[in-house]
């Protein structure tokens, strides 16, 4: 009796295994209810006052989701992020594919940078980019330095292959505060 069921059970188990991959594709189109969460926590480095706060839930929701990251990649072009940061190598703004993060390289730091802007040329997109898209952009930026899982990082670009694609980048850990803010280069500033 038991032995007759075994092939069926194996097939069932395999099917369940296949379902495990669905999470990376789960598509949430509407994001957070309006005005609930603003990426406000500005954590700039390893040294900050008080107890360290736990990572926000968005990390798991956005960094582990291929749909959000691919939407972030589309928005990175649409909102001209690529105009200043190129395809991760940098231009007017600093590169995003290396491990140097002037204002912190965690998801919530990047989201805060997009929303608040930074004093040396990064404009603030507050009220210009809805929250969900901010998180999507931040998750994509994280994928540029391969700080996300390989199976959710975008593959090779459809456009001119300027870089090998986020999936093929070596995994890097963000080093917060590793860079020199350009303003400190001027004397007397």
């Amino acid at each position: 009796m038991f032995s007759r069921c075994r092939p069926a059970a194996s097939v069932l188990a395999l099917c369940v295994l296949l379902l495990a991959a669905c999470e990376r594709e789960e598509r949430a189109y509407r994001g957070e209810p309006v005005g609930e969460v603003k990426p406000g926590a500005i954590v700039q480095g390893t040294l900050y006052a008080g107890e360290p706060s736990p990572p926000p839930p968005q990390r798991r929701e956005y960094e582990g989701n291929a749909y959000h990251i691919s939407e972030g990649k589309r928005l990175f072009e649409w909102f001209n992020c690529s105009g200043c940061h190129a395809h991760g190598g940098g231009d007017i703004g600093p590169p995003l594919m290396d491990d140097t993060w002037i204002y912190g390289g965690e998801l919530e730091n990047i989201a805060a940078t997009i929303v608040e802007g930074r004093p040396n040329g990064m404009p603030s997109f507050r009220s210009k980019i809805p929250d969900q898209q901010v998180w999507q952009l931040a998750a994509y930026v994280r994928s540029m330095q391969r700080a996300v899982r390989k199976d959710v990082a975008p593959g090779r670009d459809d456009h001119m292959s300027a870089s090998p694609g986020e999936q093929s980048q070596p995994v890097q850990e963000a080093k917060p505060g590793g860079g020199t803010p350009p303003s400190s280069q001027g004397t007397g500033q």
């Binding site: 395809h87 991760g88 190598g89 004397t187 007397g188």
Partner: protein, 610 residues
């Protein structure tokens, strides 16, 4: 230039005119000179100062000092140095006026005055304009500044956040400050002003941000705007009126700045003026170029896109246009038309023509009649394949259909690249040899047009670009061009792209610097390398020569890599992304191993005899 000299010059010019009218035979040279000479009224005798980045209104960048010459240049040594405290791209020319040297840095645009009369040239004063830090986000290609200008006891500078400031040259106190643009729209300023007849001429940068380009004249005494001429829009904004007499039919018509654009696209159409202006006192015309149309993606702006990518001749008092020639109608490759314009009189088919010489981004060296705007010659000084030539009858450039950018397609091997066969870095002209010395790139590129989305204050480009070494495998070249013979006299192949200006001296020397920090002196006749010195950082500045208070000749240059070419070092860009710095990173991915950031003034002289 002192007031006295100005008056003398004007008198001379008037006298010459009267004589010419009275005795026509005098005005016609019986035998035109065998080689080109600088426009006489625009190139007064050298007084040993260097009061504007181009040396004189004719923009020759030629020093008549000959103490340092081909025979003794091998002994040239450092006289003193000065650290600017900023480690971004130093594109500026230092100025020297009556024993004081003025150095302007990249953002934050500090102006240093160095006292040359004392040993080691100590700082007299430093002026800090404190431009808005956010302006760094709207400077397309590093936060450079191309130099100050001196006139009437004042130094004039532009700041990155689109202000023009007058500073008392003696005390370092601010005299006036005028805000001319809005950084939230992407407007910035990087150019060196030019002072003509008591007016400070400046223009805006931001052709990669969808700004509307303009050139403005400010009253040198008060800073009030006298006139402003836009590069796009209706004729009244462009200052095209009854005086406007272009040579070619294609430049004629009403409100072409509107009708050659899709509806309303001219409002964000670029045509910025961030390069060089020349002035001919005799014809009383200023000459300036207009930058690339925006966005780079040409499919988003069908039409000729007037008045971008061309050359204007204007009346300096009113700004009214006299003529215009569009070098690149409907620009396809970011061929900004802002390069230097060298005013020369040269023999042409048996007569003397008043001309201007323009080594253009698109790879052609244009010789244009500066009275009428007629193109006399347009010869390639670089292996061009994006265009097949210039029709001298119509003035029309012939685009090569194979290299036409298309949306969603990668067009490969386009030469020259977006920064052009030659970018902003100015050439020099020596009247002793009649040769133009052109420091330039030897690069080609792959281009893919993509949709550009206009969001005010963010880039508006719409192209993925990847550059690499051009034919021959070298990335730069220093070309000596004879405009009369219409051919190369000699050429030096440089491994790295050349992003520094050139300087010619009466000692038959030509100076230029390289991206990896070598400062070189070569023979003006042969191009033979006579002397070189390794500075601390890559050189993208403009060398100058002056007579010090001690009567000796000095050569000065700023070292500090950056600009579009050196952005990979100045901005710590990542070479893994070939499209970084609009594709320039791919061409110079080895640069971080060959030089580091810096910001240092080097001044050279022969060993003192005492």
């Amino acid at each position: 230039m002192s007031k006295l000299q100005c008056c003398l010059l004007a008198l001379l010019a008037v006298a010459y005119n009267i004589l010419a009218c009275a005795f026509p035979a005098l005005a016609q040279d019986p035998a035109p000179p065998a080689k080109a000479i600088p426009a006489p009224a625009a190139s007064p005798p050298d007084d040993g100062n260097w009061s504007m980045p181009a040396k004189n209104y004719a923009s020759t960048r030629f020093s008549e000092l000959d103490e340092i010459n081909a025979g003794n240049v091998r002994d040239l040594q450092v006289s003193f140095t000065f650290s600017t405290g900023v480690v971004r791209g130093h594109e500026a020319a230092p100025l020297v006026v009556n024993g004081t040297m003025y150095v302007v840095t990249p953002y934050p645009n500090h102006l240093h005055a160095l006292d040359l009369t004392k040993p080691g040239a100590p700082t007299k004063w430093t002026f800090e304009p404190k431009p808005a830090a956010s302006a760094q986000g709207v400077a397309c290609c590093d936060y450079v500044n191309r130099g100050p200008a001196f006139a009437d006891g004042k130094i004039f500078i532009t700041t990155l956040d689109a202000h023009t400031i007058a500073i008392d040259a003696e005390t370092g106190q601010e005299v006036w400050r005028t805000k001319l643009g809005d950084i939230n729209k992407g407007e910035s300023m990087t150019m060196a002003p030019l002072v003509v007849k008591g007016k400070v001429l400046v223009g805006n940068s931001g052709g990669e941000f969808g700004v509307r380009g303009w050139v403005t004249a400010l009253d040198a005494a008060t800073g009030k705007i006298v006139w402003r001429a836009y590069s796009t829009g209706p004729d009244k904004d462009v200052l095209i009126g009854p005086d406007y007499q272009p040579f070619y039919d294609k430049e004629k018509g009403k409100d072409l700045g509107v009708s050659t654009w899709p509806p309303n696209a001219w409002e964000i159409g670029g045509g910025t003026m961030w390069g060089w202006i020349s002035y001919d006192p005799e014809l009383d015309l200023i000459y300036h170029g207009t930058g690339n149309p925006g966005p780079w993606n040409p499919e988003q702006r069908p039409g000729d896109n007037k008045w971008t990518g061309g050359i204007f001749a204007r009346n300096p008092d009113t700004g009214q246009a006299r003529w215009f020639y569009q070098v690149v109608p409907h620009d396809l490759y970011d061929y900004d038309g802002i390069n230097e314009l060298i005013l020369v009189d040269l023999p042409w088919n048996g007569e003397t023509r008043k001309a201007l010489i323009r080594p253009e981004r698109n790879g052609y060296l244009y010789v244009i009649d500066r009275r009428t705007g007629e193109v006399l010659a347009a010869d390639p000084y670089f292996p061009v394949n994006s265009t097949s030539g210039v029709d001298l009858k119509t003035g029309q450039i012939q685009y090569n259909e194979d290299k036409h950018p298309r949306m969603g397609k990668v067009v490969r091997d386009i030469c020259p690249t977006a920064p052009g066969a030659k970018d902003w870095n100015p050439s020099a002209f020596s009247p002793r040899t009649g040769i133009v010395y052109i420091p330039h790139n030897n690069l080609c590129m792959d281009w893919e047009s993509v949709e550009a989305n206009y969001i005010a204050g963010t880039p508006y480009v719409g192209a993925n670009v990847k550059m690499y070494a051009g034919p021959g495998g070298h990335r730069g070249a220093f070309t000596a061009w004879d405009p009369v013979q219409r051919k190369k006299a000699w050429e030096i192949k440089e491994d790295l792209p050349l992003w520094s200006g050139a300087l010619a001296t009466a000692g038959d020397l030509v100076f230029y610097g390289t991206l990896d920090g070598w400062f070189k002196a070569v023979h003006a006749q042969t191009g033979e390398l006579l002397w070189r010195f390794k500075t601390g950082s890559g050189i993208i500045g403009q060398p100058i020569s002056y007579r010090g208070p001690d009567g000796r000749q000095y050569i000065a240059v700023l070292s500090g890599v950056g600009g579009w070419a050196g952005a990979i070092v100045a901005g710590d860009l990542d070479p893994h992304d070939a499209s970084a710095a609009k594709g320039f990173v791919n061409a110079v991915s080895d640069l971080p191993r060959r030089t580091t950031k810096g910001g240092m003034l080097y001044v050279f002289a022969l060993p003192s005899r005492s």
